[in-house]
């Protein structure tokens, strides 16, 4: 179970987590709230290895979580949403940095998005997660429609993020 949850978190770090991955993470967090700080450590270590820019805000959210004992019993959607936000916040530490490393050719007009620490909050993290989920859905819808006219129809695999641009 824990290995699966760690895999899910790893996918999360890579920006490739599916809905099921998140469910798995939440379940693991329900059972072992200590995982949160462990994952946070992992995400920092990984980002450090890749020489990414770290914006460490996740721990402040961890502190904002209600007492862990109540966490185990609570299954309300509001609490789950909050947890999803926290999980996303942990991931965001790296995701924000990842944009730098995935920038393609230096000649391309790419402006990396720098999210000021005060702007990183669970709402934003959730927004990002929501955007990813929505994109997956769109890809499936497109693949289905494309199959009626197009030769090349396949399962949308993970996307490679090549550009993030502020306007």
């Amino acid at each position: 179970m824990k290995a699966k949850a760690n895999e899910a978190f790893s996918a999360f770090l890579d920006g490739e987590a599916s809905e099921i991955d998140v469910q798995r993470m939440l379940k693991a967090l329900d059972e072992q709230p200590a995982l949160l700080s462990q994952w946070h450590g992992l995400s920092k270590a990984k980002a450090g290895l890749q020489g990414e820019v770290l914006i460490d805000t996740a721990l402040t959210f961890a502190a904002a979580v209600p007492a862990e004992t109540s966490a185990v019993n609570s299954t309300g959607w509001r609490f789950r949403l909050q947890q999803a936000g926290i999980a996303a916040a942990v991931a965001l530490v790296v995701i924000t940095g990842a944009r730098y490393s995935l920038t393609p050719e230096p000649s391309a007009p790419v402006v990396a998005t720098v999210v000021a620490p005060e702007r990183i909050n669970t709402a934003l993290a959730q927004q990002q997660f929501e955007a990813q989920r929505r994109l997956d859905q769109y890809l499936r819808e497109h693949a289905e429609q494309a199959s009626f006219t197009t030769g090349h129809v396949v399962v949308p695999a993970q996307l490679q993020w090549v550009e993030a641009q502020s306007e």
Partner: protein
């Protein structure tokens, strides 16, 4: 001078049937993919990712039955029986269920609109090559700046598609489908079309939707003020609820397609757009008038950007 004109006329006469021949081959290919019995393995390469599949295809009494099996990564089996598609997953591979169903190229295309494809692509025969142990003739369809070129390898006798590629303007292969092993016109037993995961704990069934006859996007709040030449509306659906509007359209030029998704409420713009690429698939996410706009298709980034730039959405009247 006169002989020169004769020569030109002869050349023109000579060129026209060759052109027609290539289109005939393509049409025969589409039919062959669906109406021939075959079994084999193929790979699909998308960007830097490659997946291998096995396929068993039988055509019997006007109906095609096909069993696809993903050979690497998660085990997935897909049984396509006429208009019905059933996916089988082993226990514990729930993550694989979030993926769409892979289909062999052209296996679901009812009819190729050659007239239309001919207006948007230039066909050219470019020699022969050996693929998966068979001789194949190569047909190239050259696109313009708004669409990718495509290349097809057709088996010389059955016209079965052995390999196909999507190629960018600078000649880079973005996506490739290729048989590595193939047996054509074989007898397929029922047992070969029986999924090995049939009794597995996890099973997902996907009902196959037929495309609507005529797509209609009248009354939509968004409008595409520019379309790359040759593309027309192939599918449209919309709904509206408390979370805002949802408008989905798919456009096709007869061979390639892209979809445009508009969603949400007119929120203050975040002012950020993101471009993602996977093989030949481009996904552009942006905001127009506060609505979330996503364009996904097997089109160059330039095309997606121009569509987004020329897209307008009315705000609801207050």
């Amino acid at each position: 001078m006169r002989s020169y004109l004769y020569l030109c006329a002869l050349l023109l006469l000579g060129a026209a049937p060759v052109q027609a021949m290539e289109w005939q081959w393509l049409n025969a290919m589409r039919q062959s993919v669906q109406e021939t019995n075959y079994r084999g393995d193929y790979i699909h390469r998308r960007g830097d990712q490659t997946n291998a599949y096995s396929i068993v295809h039988r055509f019997d009494q006007g109906q095609a039955v096909e069993l696809l099996r993903q050979l690497d990564g998660d085990m997935i089996e897909i049984l396509r029986d006429g208009l019905r598609t059933v996916c089988y997953f082993p226990d514990g591979s729930e993550a694989a269920m979030t993926h769409a169903v892979p289909a062999a190229p052209f296996s679901q295309v009812a009819e190729l609109d050659l007239q239309r494809i001919g207006e948007n692509y230039q066909a050219r025969a470019s020699g022969e090559q050996r693929v998966a142990g068979f001789n194949a003739r190569i047909i190239e369809l050259k696109g313009d700046e708004w669409r990718y070129s495509q290349r097809f390898w057709l088996e010389t006798e059955s016209n079965l598609l052995l390999q196909s590629e999507l190629i960018s303007a600078d000649g880079q292969v973005l996506e490739q489908f290729r048989f590595t092993r193939l047996e054509i016109a074989v007898t397929i037993e029922d047992v070969e079309l029986t999924p090995s995961l049939k009794d597995a704990a996890v099973l997902q069934q996907v009902a196959f939707r037929s495309p609507a006859d005529v797509a209609n996007d009248a009354g939509y709040r968004s409008a595409l003020d520019w379309l790359p030449a040759g593309f027309s509306l192939a599918h449209a659906e919309a709904r509206q609820d408390s979370t805002g509007i949802y408008e989905q359209r798919t456009f096709s030029d007869g061979l390639t397609s892209f979809s445009v998704f508009i969603e949400g409420l007119a929120l203050p713009a975040t002012g950020q757009s993101t471009l993602a690429k996977m093989g030949a698939t481009t996904a552009l996410m942006t905001a127009v008038n506060g609505y979330s706009v996503t364009i996904i298709g097997e089109i160059p980034a330039l095309t997606a950007k121009k569509i987004a730039q020329m897209l307008s959405i009315d705000r609801p009247a207050l």
